[in-house]
Amino acid sequence: MNPNAVIGRPFPQLNAESKVKGNAAFCDDLWFPKMLYCRILRSPHAHARILEIDTSEAESLPGVKAVITAGDTPRIPFVHVGGPFQDKLPLQDSKVRYVGDEVAAVAALREDIAETALRLIRVKYEVLPAVFDPEEALGEDAPQVHDGKNNALIHIKRDFGNAERALEESDLVLEDVFETQAVSHCNLEPRCSVAMMDEQGVLKIWTSTQSPHYVRKEVSHVLGLPLTNVRVMEIHVGGGFGSRSKVCEDEAITAMLALKTGRPVKIAYSREEEFTATRIRMPFKIWIKQGVTNDGTLTARKMKVIADKGAYAHYGPAVLGYAAGVSCALYRVPNVKYDGYLVYTNKHFAGPFRGFGAPQVTFAIESQIDRLAENLGMDGMALRLKNANQPNETTTNGWRITSCGFSDCIRKAAETSGWAEKKKARAKGNSDQDTLRGIGMACGIHLCGAKIFADGDYSGAIVKVFEDGQVTLYKGNTDMGTWSNTTAAQIVAEEIGIDLDRVRVISMDTETTPTDSGSFASRVLFIHGNAAKKAAAKAKASLLKSAAAVLGETEKDLFIESGAIAVTGNPEKRITIGEAVKQSAEKVCDFISCEYHYDPPSEPLNFQTGYSNISAAYTFTTQVAEVEVDRSTGLVSVQQFVVAQDVGKAINPLAVEGQIEGAVAQGIGYALSEGYHYQDGFVLNANFTDYSMPGIQTLPKDGKLKVILVETDDPEGPFGAKGAGELTLNPTAAAVANAVYDATGIRCNTLPITPEQLAARLEEKAHK
C-alpha cells in the first residue's frame, strides 16, 4: 500500500473527539433566547372523524403562546413519493387514521405547560370502525381508511419470463408462507426539531434528519413558501436507519408554530412518541414458490406480498417496489412473477427502514432456498454457489451487475465459519441434548443509490482549497453515525494528495451545500463519494495548473505530497498548496472553489414493468449464523455470526466493519426479539423494557462476530468503493432462522422467533 494513502486506512471519525467529550450537539441540546416548547396532541382513536376542535381553554392557559390545528395551516399534504400518494397532512383536518395521528400542536414557555395545554384541547370525535389486518382491509365491506379510496393503494406487478410454466417444468417446487413483523428503528436519539425565523425571513430548521434537502423541499411545500425560505442547518443526528430519510411531521409543525409566534420553537419527542408516531418497518405476508432442476439450478420464483402500510402511503410504494426488485434479482433466476399489494390499515405507518423491503423478502427467499437444498439432498452452500449472481451479468429485471464478489462471499463465509465440518458434525444429530446447536447460511443483494424516486439520485459536492492549505468539502447529506463525513473527507484527501487532517467537512446546511437526495439507500459513499472525488479532482487540476505556472514546469511533471506540489525527479523544487492557491489565476478571493454534480449511470425505475438498471453498482453478502437453542425454554442465542461482504473497496475498514456489525445486531433483533404488540391499534410496548432490542449480551462474544471484507474494486465506485450500510441486514434473519432449523428441525416462518413460539413448537414436536 502507498504509505501516504488515505484510502483504506482505519482513521477515527472526524468528530470522534467531540462525541467522547459530550460536546457533540444534538438537536435537543440547542437553546435559543425566547425559545418555546412544543407538544403535539395526538389521536387517541385508531379511526375517527374529527367533528369539532375547541382550543380556547388551552389558549387561555398562562404560558401558552400558540395553539394550531389544521385550520391554521394551508392544508397542503406532504409530497412523499408524489402522484396519487400525497395523503398526509401535517395536522389532520377531517379524520384521524391511527392512534397517534397529529391533531393539534401547542407552543408554550415550558414543556410542562405545553403538556398541560394539550389536556385542555377539546376534540369531539365520531369514532369509526377501524381495520387492522391488511387481508381484512382488502375485503369489500372493510372500513375505508381514506374516504373514497380503495384500501389497496397499489398493486405492483412484475412478470419476467414465464414463471408458471417454468414451475410446472421444474423437478422440485416448494411453496411456503412467511410473515414478518413491524419493528422500530430505535434510534437512541428521540426525534427533535427546532424551527426559528431569522432576520431575513428565512425559516431555519435544526432537525434529526438524514435528508436535509428533502426536509427543505417538504417544509416549504406544506407551508406554501418558496424553497429557499427554508434552510435546514447542520446538527448531530443520533441514528436514522431510514426513519429520518424523509420529512417527519414535527419539522413542519414546529415551522408552523415558529411562523405563527415569531419565536424559536422546539419539539423533543418522548421515547413513547418515538415508538408510536414515527415510521416503522413494513410488515409483509409473503406467499412464495420456487422451482429448481435436480442439479440445483433455480428455474423460477413466484411471489405474492401483502404489505401492511398502516394509515398513510408515505414511501410505501417505493419500499414495495424495491422489494420487488430484490425478489427478481437475488440469484440467477430466469422466470419471476411478483404481485405486491400495499394496503392501508388503521395503524401507525411504515416508511423506509434499512434494507427498504429487502430484509422481508430475503427472509422468505433464503429460508426457502435452504429447504430446496435439503429436499434436493444438496448442501445449502453448494446450491447458493450454483445460482449466485456473477460479474457482468444482467438480472431478470435489468440490473446490470458489474463488480460482483458473491461467490467469494459464499466461500469465505463458509471457510471462516467452519461450515463444512460443522454441517458434517450436525448430520449426526443432537437430539439428546438440552442445548441444541445449529448453523445456517443466507445471502443478500443490494444497491448503491437508486433511481426509484421522481427526483433521481444525484449529489453535488463543492471542494474549496484555501490559501492556508486547508480544504473544505461541502456535503448536502447527513452523517447520522455512518462516518460518511469521514469517508468523504478521505476520498477528497486521497484525490488531491493531502493528509486527512487538512480536510474539513460542512454537511447538511441547505444554504451552503449543493443539493443532495440524502443519506439512504446505501448511496452516500458511492453517489456523494463520486461527486466529492470529481470535485476534488478539479481542485487538484487547478492547483497543478497554478503550480506549473509558478514553477515553470508542465502539470504532468508535478505531483502532490504532504501538502506541497513538487516536481517529479526533482522533489526539492516545490511550492505549498497554499502558495499555489495564492498564485492561482483561478482563485476567488482567497480560495479555489470547484463543484461537481454527479448523476450515476443508472436508469430511472420503470414502475410499470420493473425492468431497469436502477443502480450503478450492486453489492453482495453471505452470512453464517451459529445458534444454541435451549430445548426447554426455546430461547435462541447466537454464538457466532460471520459476514463476508462485497464492499468494493474499504475506504475506511473501521467505518465499514462498524456498519456491518451494527446491521447484524439489528438483524438479530429482527430475527429473535423485536416486534410491536398492538391492541385495537394501540401500541402496547412503546418502551425499551417491553420492546426488546439487542443489548450487549445479545451479540456473539469473544470476537465471534466476524466480518470479512471482500474487495472487488468496482469500476464506477470512488476508488472502487461500494455502499455497505443496508445490505448486511437483508439476510440476517434468514441466516438465524436457517440455523434454528438446523438445530431443531423446526422451520420458523414467522418473525420474530420468540422463545414462546419455539418452545411450543419443540413441545409439539417432542410429542409427535
Binding site: K21, N23, N187, G239, T482, E657, M693, D702
Partner: protein, 158 residues
C-alpha cells in the same frame, strides 16, 4: 412544593443549585448547568444515555431526583476530558471506532469508567455485564467491547 437549595460537586466544582423536589438530575444537569452530554433516551433507565457517575457509581440521571444528589460528587462526560487531553477511555473509544452516531457514547464511556475504577482488568464477560444497561443501536457493540478490553489489557483504566 417549595424549591430548595442543594449543594453538590459537579466535575470537581462545588455548586449550589435551586431545585424543585420533583426535578430530575438529568434535567438539572442539562437545563440549569448546561451539561448536555448526558442525554434523554428513554426516561425509564433502560437505555443508559443519561448515565452519570455519582460518587463514582453509574446512575441513570433520568431516574434520580436532583435532591438525591445533595452532598454528592457528580461526574458527567464533560468532566472526563483532562487538561492534558483525553482520558484513556476516551482515547480508546476514538481509536477503536467505538461509536457511530455518538448519542449513547457519553453513557457508554462513563459506565466503562465505573467498571475500570473498581476492576482495572475486567475480562470480556465483566465488560459486557457492566454495559448491560447501555443500549446502542448503531455499532453492534463489538468495537465498544474492544475499546474497553484494550484498557483492561493495558491496565490504563484509572
Amino acid at each position: 412544593m417549595t424549591k430548595q437549595l442543594i449543594e453538590m460537586k459537579v466535575n470537581g466544582d462545588a455548586l449550589e443549585v435551586l431545585v424543585a423536589p420533583e426535578d430530575l438530575l438529568l434535567n438539572v444537569l442539562r437545563n440549569q448547568l448546561g451539561l448536555t452530554g448526558a442525554k434523554y433516551g428513554c426516561g425509564l433507565g433502560r437505555c443508559g444515555s443519561c448515565i452519570v457517575l455519582m460518587d463514582g457509581e453509574p446512575v441513570n440521571s433520568c431516574l434520580i431526583l436532583a435532591v438525591a444528589a445533595e452532598g454528592k460528587e457528580i461526574t458527567t462526560i464533560e468532566g472526563l476530558w483532562r487538561e492534558q487531553g483525553p482520558h484513556p477511555i476516551q482515547e480508546a473509544f476514538i481509536a477503536h471506532g467505538a461509536m457511530q452516531c455518538g448519542f449513547c457514547t457519553p453513557g457508554m464511556v462513563l459506565s466503562s469508567k465505573a467498571l475500570l475504577n473498581r476492576n482495572p482488568h475486567p475480562d470480556e464477560t465483566e465488560v459486557r455485564e457492566a454495559l448491560e444497561s447501555n443500549l446502542c443501536r448503531c455499532t453492534g457493540y463489538a468495537k465498544i467491547v474492544e475499546a474497553v478490553m484494550s484498557l483492561s489489557h493495558a491496565g490504563k483504566g484509572e
